[in-house]
Amino acid sequence: MCLAVPGKLLEITGEDDLSRRGKVSFGGVLKEVSLAFVPQAQVGDYVTVHVGVALSVVDEAEALQVFEYLRQLGELQEEGSP
């Protein structure tokens, strides 16, 4: 139910308010979604969409964090090993 899927914003229509909408590509499947809650979203951004409504703009720098954390764990282990 709380499934939300990231997709690439291709096109924006409507005014800058609760009626703003956009066309989003989910791996090539296009859907029209509400951009009411992501006024900062620009064409080319990835937005995370739940039941037809974008809830956030994916932070591309933070997206690498899960790998960076793992890399640091690896370094810690190398430092700690004899």
């Binding site: 709380c2 899927v5 037809g52 409504v53 809830l55 899960v66 764990l73 690896g74």
Partner: protein, 367 residues
Amino acid sequence: MKFVDEYRDPQAAAQYAEALARLVTRPWTLMEVCGGQTHAIVRFGIDQLLPPDLTLVHGPGCPVCVTPVELIDRAIAIAGQSGVIFCSFGDMLRVPGSRDSLLAAKANGGDVRIVYSPLDAVALARSNPERQVVFFAVGFETTAPANALAVHQAKEEGLTNFSLLVSHVLVPPAIEALLGAPGNQVQGFLAAGHVCTVMGWEEYGPLSEQHRVPIVVTGFEPLDILQGVYMVVRQLEEGRAEVENQYARNVRRAGNPAAVELIRRVFQVVPRQWRGVGEIPHSGLGLRPEYAAFDAQTRFAVADIRAVEDPDCQSGLVLQGRLKPHQCPSFGTRCTPEHPLGATMVSSEGACAAYYRYRPRQEEVQG
């Protein structure tokens, strides 16, 4: 798909599993709150990658599962009225009420339709002015912005033939109830990433502090979950109890302010019944008096319909992490997705459905 596939890398998952094995020095029990996480854990076998001392128990975060029986009965009563188009997410259709399901109501001639978004239900109301369109608004905080937006749009457009049957629930009061319950075994939580995408994570601070439990806001892909588990266990091993954010690519500390603003404008906090669990104070959302005209329970006079739960269904224990699905005597025998006793066997996020689909036998062998 970008921002999905890379978080399913088996090699990185194996590295996280190895790091966890090095980190754990004693038994710990963690709960993932969200049914979407439960589904990913069972589907990808993440629990089987963990060191034996780590136990993941499944939480109550399946809105379909916790929607009370009597609300299903009310939905069926509304769907059976002539002139009504009853719209719902697909998951709700097979959930058993006290006698029937919405699917049975559809088979009996009710106009029950599956929609992808509450905004689609508003569009139906717009194009069918002679019909009453009702949307079954179940969900956690994640779904509240979409439902609030639907009501807001309907009001702006002056639609008088649209209403919501609301069964919205909130995560923090459920965590509070679990932690306060006698015999609680849960020592740390993976909080639901998309709930926090909307609400942020500041409301978890007092919970973590008061109950001395680590809470890590966690995403839904295998690497997200493994990192979330690592962060919780690290806190436990170091004797810390804080709120941390694993899912920073989507979750900001204050959440999504525009979404929170509209939720607060349309909804207010109310007490809510949780199927299998009972009433939890301050644990739901209901329409504010200014939006009372959009309340389907009043419009169709169904608020007096009462119902009791099937006494053979142990979903309440499953939802509180006290029973694993395969430990229920009815699992896979008297209770299957085709003939479910409770909602946890129906919903794609229900723990019983996840076990039935991905490991119907394995667990019997492993005990």
